[in-house]
């Protein structure tokens, strides 16, 4: 039997749970500034998202428990599933690497048929085809990761419901009790996520995401460098070539210095190093 059912039978536990979450949200809300005190440039950054999270969590718990308490046809399992859906939705856009940062940024290239490339624009067409293909791979890997993430959240929600058990809280609901519920959810979520993240499917999808992103970036860089050359602007490739030549000269100097002074200080010919004047 689901713990939701246990709570409904007890008649008071559902309200208790709701009140605990409500208090937790209130606690967090009280930490925030009044709307007029919030700097205009804050843009919601700071702790507003966490207050919002607690409020939404509370509202979802209320909806679920109210519904479960009043409608007999609604089973506890359905309540758990609804709750799971809420959690999946709420954490779906978490800033994970496949949502930001590691991946390709920018505008999706226009879809391009895998048509044969020939004539003066052959190289450009092929480059754009490779770019589009890389984007398709990124998108595919992102979907796989998002699906695994969603499954982990679902598993976490089920584990959370199963571990609630009989409430150990006093009738007078405390913020501490609310925190325990929240911490339990976090624990369940981390455990479920860790199982997924250690799995072969996740590692494969993440690798594919990064590798495809690398290919996408390489193709876009090539396109930009092509444009830069048309305008006779310096490119990163040219700077890299110069850097390699400079390193080569440095190494030759270092080797020459060692030859001249067999007992030179370790580290050989020094870079721009100095003893700091006191």
């Amino acid at each position: 039997m689901s713990p939701f059912a246990v709570r409904m039978e007890s008649g008071i536990v559902d309200h208790e749970l709701w009140r605990q979450w409500q208090a937790f949200a209130t606690l967090l809300s009280s930490a925030g500034p009044a709307p007029q005190a919030r700097p205009a440039h804050d843009g919601g950054f700071g702790f507003a998202p966490f207050i919002d999270a607690a409020e939404r969590f509370t509202a979802a718990a209320r909806t679920i428990l109210d519904g479960a308490g009043s409608a007999s046809a609604r089973t506890a399992d359905e309540a758990a599933r609804t709750f799971s859906d809420f959690l999946r939705e709420h954490f779906a856009d978490f800033q994970m690497p496949w949502n930001a940062g590691l991946g390709a940024a920018g505008v999706q290239p226009a879809p391009m048929e895998n048509s044969p490339a020939f004539g003066p624009t052959r190289e450009h067409q092929q480059r754009w085809q490779r770019t589009a293909e890389a984007w398709r791979r990124i998108d595919d890997a992102r979907r796989r990761l998002q699906r695994l993430w969603s499954d982990a959240l679902s598993e976490a929600a089920t584990a959370f419901a199963a571990r609630l058990g009989p409430p150990p809280y006093a009738a007078a609901m405390s913020a501490e009790a609310a925190r325990k519920l929240y911490d339990l959810w976090i624990e369940c979520a981390e455990e479920a996520y860790a199982r997924a993240a250690h799995g072969e499917a996740f590692c494969e999808a993440l690798s594919e995401f990064v590798n495809a992103s690398s290919q996408w970036r390489r193709e876009v860089q090539a396109s930009i460098e092509h444009s830069a050359k048309l305008l006779d602007l310096p490119t990163r490739s040219e700077i890299n070539t110069l850097s390699h030549r400079l390193r080569s000269v440095e190494e030759q100097l270092r080797a020459a210095s060692k030859t001249r002074k067999p007992r030179a200080p370790a580290g050989g010919a020094k870079r721009a190093r100095r003893r700091v004047k006191r």
Binding site: S30, M96, I186
Partner: protein, 334 residues
């Protein structure tokens, strides 16, 4: 404290500077700065200085965050003469800097400076996290220049079962990922946070809001927050080598590592060695550090495990009480 006051306290604390101990820059090379800390207690440790080699992936001020959260202050209070390497913030001009440059040039330069200054043949070295790997490589290549080596939350076996980072990067084409550029510190942050996303991106902030609103706690939080997100970009070549050689190919364990054309064989490391491990370390699993014992040739090997996580090893109250004292006690007879 009212909600608005709490918010104001957070905003005010966002500019708290990390670092509390007096230090002076004594040597520089390119972006690297070597610092020496001013003593605060009667000298101990037999006059042998301790060089802290921090990781490349984060800023070293975590070692000296604030007065009650400073490993360095603890070491100074034990009478040790402490030096610290700040690797700086690599930029595009550093993209071809290799591990050989870091270990066999920059680190050698720091060690030479200290040995010349103190007229010594060898110093004590404390390698932290990735800095511990660099220290082990340095010690294997220059065994006579290190008297005692301490490794702290240092990965050695990169294929231990709990190592999530290792699993994630195992099939990544790291050469393509890095390309010919640097690796963004922001991207690495994202990666580290996603190891435990609910705790690190959600619960941590709820804890802050739900906890006591005292100013010291808020300022401590903001300093750690600064450290977490003030992550330097990584020199592309060195990063590529580190991921490929250590994470993907596990060369230290397989005894197949070469730096600057010379073999790094941990069996040749025979000096006294203290290995500090965090039992709840999610970045460097205990097994990844503990592997050191079977790989080094040292008869004088000590391992100390603390019931702490990776960051807790630097800044927790328990670490402040126990870690510096343990280091000083271990060094004293050596």
């Amino acid at each position: 404290m009212t909600g608005a006051a709490f918010y104001a306290a957070l905003a005010a604390a966002s500019h708290c500077a990390a670092g509390c101990s007096q230090k002076e820059a004594v040597w520089q090379s390119d972006k690297l700065t070597l610092y020496r800390y001013r003593p605060i207690a009667r000298p101990a440790g037999g006059g042998v200085p301790l060089l802290i080699v921090y990781a490349l992936v984060n800023r070293p001020y975590m070692m000296d965050l604030q007065e009650d959260r400073s490993l360095i202050r603890g070491l100074l209070a034990e009478g040790l003469d402490v030096y610290l390497i700040d690797w700086g913030y690599p930029d595009g001009a550093d993209r071809f800097t290799t591990l050989a440059d870091y270990i066999d040039d920059y680190l050698v330069g720091c060690v030479d400076y200290i040995l010349n200054t103190h007229r010594l043949n060898a110093l004590n070295m404390l390698g932290v996290c990735q800095g511990g790997v660099l220290s082990l490589c340095f010690t294997a290549l220059h065994p006579k220049r290190v008297r005692n080596l301490i490794t702290m939350v240092t990965p050695v076996d990169f294929h231990s079962p709990a190592d999530l980072l290792s699993k994630w990067v195992s099939k990544i084409d790291v050469a393509a990922w890095v390309g010919e550029g640097n690796v963004s510190g922001d991207a690495l942050n994202q990666l580290f946070l996603s190891l435990m996303p609910f705790r690190l991106m959600h619960q941590k902030y709820v804890d802050l809001l739900a906890g006591s609103p005292d100013q010291d706690r808020i300022e401590n939080f903001m300093r750690v927050e600064q450290w977490i997100f003030d992550s330097p970009d990584q020199a592309g070549a060195a990063f590529r080598e580190f991921v490929l050689w250590f994470y993907q190919e596990n060369r230290l364990v397989k005894n197949r590592l070469e730096i600057a054309g010379r073999k790094v064989d941990l069996h040749t490391v025979r000096l006294p060695l203290l290995n500090l491990i965090g039992k709840r370390d999610h970045l460097v699993p205990p097994a990844a550090s503990a592997a050191l014992q079977r790989l080094v040739g040292s008869d004088d090997y000590t391992v100390l495990e603390f019931d702490l996580g990776h960051i807790g090893m630097y800044v927790s109250a328990r670490a402040q009480r126990e870690v510096p004292a343990a280091i000083a006690r271990w060094l004293a007879p050596r």
